[in-house]
């Protein structure tokens, strides 16, 4: 029974992944990715990791993919054009894929033969209590460091979102002619420094618009 479910959802997962790449419309690709996430959640469930399965559903399928779908909907991205693809990628990619898959399979098969620790399908080792214990006892420091990292990321996002709304006080207003000169000047350099200068000039123009 467990094995049957595993095979069914593994097939759905791989089919979703192939459909993700093969679909022409971005929204269909995003929906295929949701199928992959959902079937991964079922696979976690089969391995006895209930909590991880539920979190996979809530965070990945529910929150992150909603953002993906949102962006596609708001940008109103249409169906993409098909190209024949790069020949180099075909020449190098296919043998590379075969080699990687072969090495992976060889390693996994070797471990099975050696009789090392395996996880039985249908075992229960991931109830919420066990995960909570290991998070707050063994892995307390990594857990806290990760949460601070996420906090910094949130604050960074807020700062970036507010950046243009609140210009720095020392910003001086520049007239359009000067800005045009600056842009031209920056364009003639053509180097990395020139690009940076150009960006800065554009930025200053934008700030001027806001302050007005």
């Amino acid at each position: 029974m467990h094995l049957g479910l595993f095979i069914a959802f593994a097939v759905i997962c791989v089919a979703g992944a192939i459909s993700l790449v093969a679909q022409r419309h971005p929204i269909n690709s995003a929906l295929s990715l949701i199928v992959v996430m959902g079937s991964l959640a079922v696979l976690y469930l089969l391995l006895g990791a209930e909590f991880v399965a539920a979190i996979q559903l809530i965070v990945y399928a529910g929150a992150i993919m909603v953002l993906f779908v949102f962006v596609i909907m708001l940008l109103n991205a249409g169906a993409e054009e098909r190209t024949r693809g790069s020949r180099v990628a075909m020449a190098l990619g296919v043998p590379g894929l075969i080699v990687v898959a072969g090495v992976l399979m060889y390693t996994l098969a070797g471990h099975t033969a050696a009789g090392q620790d395996q996880l039985a399908i249908g075992a229960t080792y991931g109830p919420p209590v066990a995960i909570g214990r290991s998070l707050f006892r063994e892995f307390l420091l990594p857990f806290e460091v990760t949460s601070i990292l996420i906090l910094i990321a949130i604050m960074g996002a807020v700062l970036l979102a507010r950046y243009h709304a609140a210009p720095a006080p020392e910003t001086r207003a520049i007239d359009p002619d000067e800005a045009g000169d600056l842009l031209q000047l920056a364009g003639t350099h053509g180097s990395a420094a020139g690009a940076r200068e150009r960006r800065r000039a554009e930025h200053r123009m934008r700030e001027r618009e806001v302050t007005r």
């Binding site: 929204i27 929906l31 529910g62 909603v66 949102f70 909907m73």
Partner: protein, 340 residues
């Protein structure tokens, strides 16, 4: 228990639960129309059957017999899939909701719940978060500006209030120490309801507000604001496809009402007395009464409050409910940490 018996019991339970849920949805629509009518000094439906009791049947028949229009400019696969997705996810949530202890028929002890999983609460949260797709895709696939605006509003609202909803439950979870709804109810047995015994009334308030927003009900029904958006995300839908969205909305109302009862009002806890059969029936009755109380509050508020403006809605969710829920977690864990 042999496998065949197990499957038989499960199928019978699913059939009964679905039948009861769908009938209840139909009759809540009637109750809502009647109650709102009384609040506005009207009669409401009176023509079909005595006191309009057969009105839901007539409505259902109408939905089935109506021509199923599919506008020519829609993206067909997703347009058809979206209402099905909404309805399926809304009905699935009932699978993990317990309505009472267990009954013994013959030699089988049958719990009054389709399936008792130890992450039931997380499953319901997962289903609500995936449920956003039904609405988002309906709006996008309809290829109409009103639908798209409505679905964007609905999705943004659901994502924002999901946070406050989830955080408001943490105080209850800390107290009960389990995600299993049955264990959460058992931890409140003997009038030790979370609402007062563990001081979760702030969490209850946050949950109630967020639940109104999650189900897109008044005063948070901006996604369907008919004065500006025609009908929001289901503008282009008709007949049975519209009915699917409609039933999904009412099924979601029942889910959040059941959850509120289980988490804050002690589930089926209440006075139990009399012979053995009454001991089984009474808890279920208390549970149903508490759920009906919530549904009544829903309808009452619809008859009372005007709609929020969109910026008020977002400010209320992010600047008021979310900090309130976080403060509740902090104080609850502090109290439990100091007293335990």
């Amino acid at each position: 228990m042999p496998l065949s018996q197990y499957i038989l019991i499960a199928v019978v339970k699913i059939a009964i639960a679905l039948f009861v849920l769908l009938t209840a949805c139909a009759y809540v629509v009637l109750a809502e129309r009647k109650l709102i009518a009384r609040m506005q000094n009207r009669w409401g439906p009176t023509r079909v059957g005595p006191f309009g009791f057969l009105q839901p049947l007539a409505d259902g028949l109408k939905f089935i017999l109506k021509e199923d229009l599919i506008p020519s400019h829609v993206y067909k696969p997703l347009y058809i899939a979206a209402p099905m997705l909404s309805l399926t996810l809304a009905l699935t949530a009932i699978a993990v909701i317990p309505i009472g202890q267990s009954v013994t028929i013959g030699n089988a002890n049958i719990p009054l719940q389709i399936t008792d999983v130890n992450i039931a609460l997380l499953i319901i949260l997962g289903l609500t978060s995936v449920g956003v797709y039904g609405i988002a895709l309906a709006g996008w696939a309809s290829n109409s500006k009103y639908s798209l605006l409505g679905s964007l509003r609905a999705s943004a609202q659901m994502i924002s209030y999901e946070l406050a909803l989830g955080l408001s439950l943490i105080g209850v979870l800390i107290g009960a120490g389990s995600f299993s709804l049955r264990e959460i109810v058992n931890s409140q047995a003997g009038w030790h309801w979370n609402l007062w015994y563990r001081g979760q009334f702030v969490a209850f308030f946050v949950y109630l507000m967020a639940a109104f927003a999650e189900t897109n009900r008044v005063p948070f029904d901006l996604p369907e604001a008919e004065t500006e958006l025609v009908a929001g995300y289901h503008t282009e839908y008709s007949a049975m496809k519209f009915a699917m969205f409609f039933v999904a909305e009412y099924a979601n109302m029942f889910t959040v009402a059941c959850l509120a009862t289980l988490l804050f009002l002690g589930g089926w806890d209440g006075p139990v007395f009399g012979p053995a059969w009454l001991m089984v029936v009474l808890p279920v009755l208390w549970f149903v009464l508490k759920v009906i109380l919530f549904i009544f509050v829903y309808i009452w508020i619809r008859g009372t409050l005007p709609r929020f403006r969109y910026d008020q809605l977002m400010a209320f969710g992010w600047k008021f409910l979310l900090p309130l829920a976080l403060a509740n977690i902090l104080i609850t864990s502090l109290v439990i940490g100091l007293t335990a």
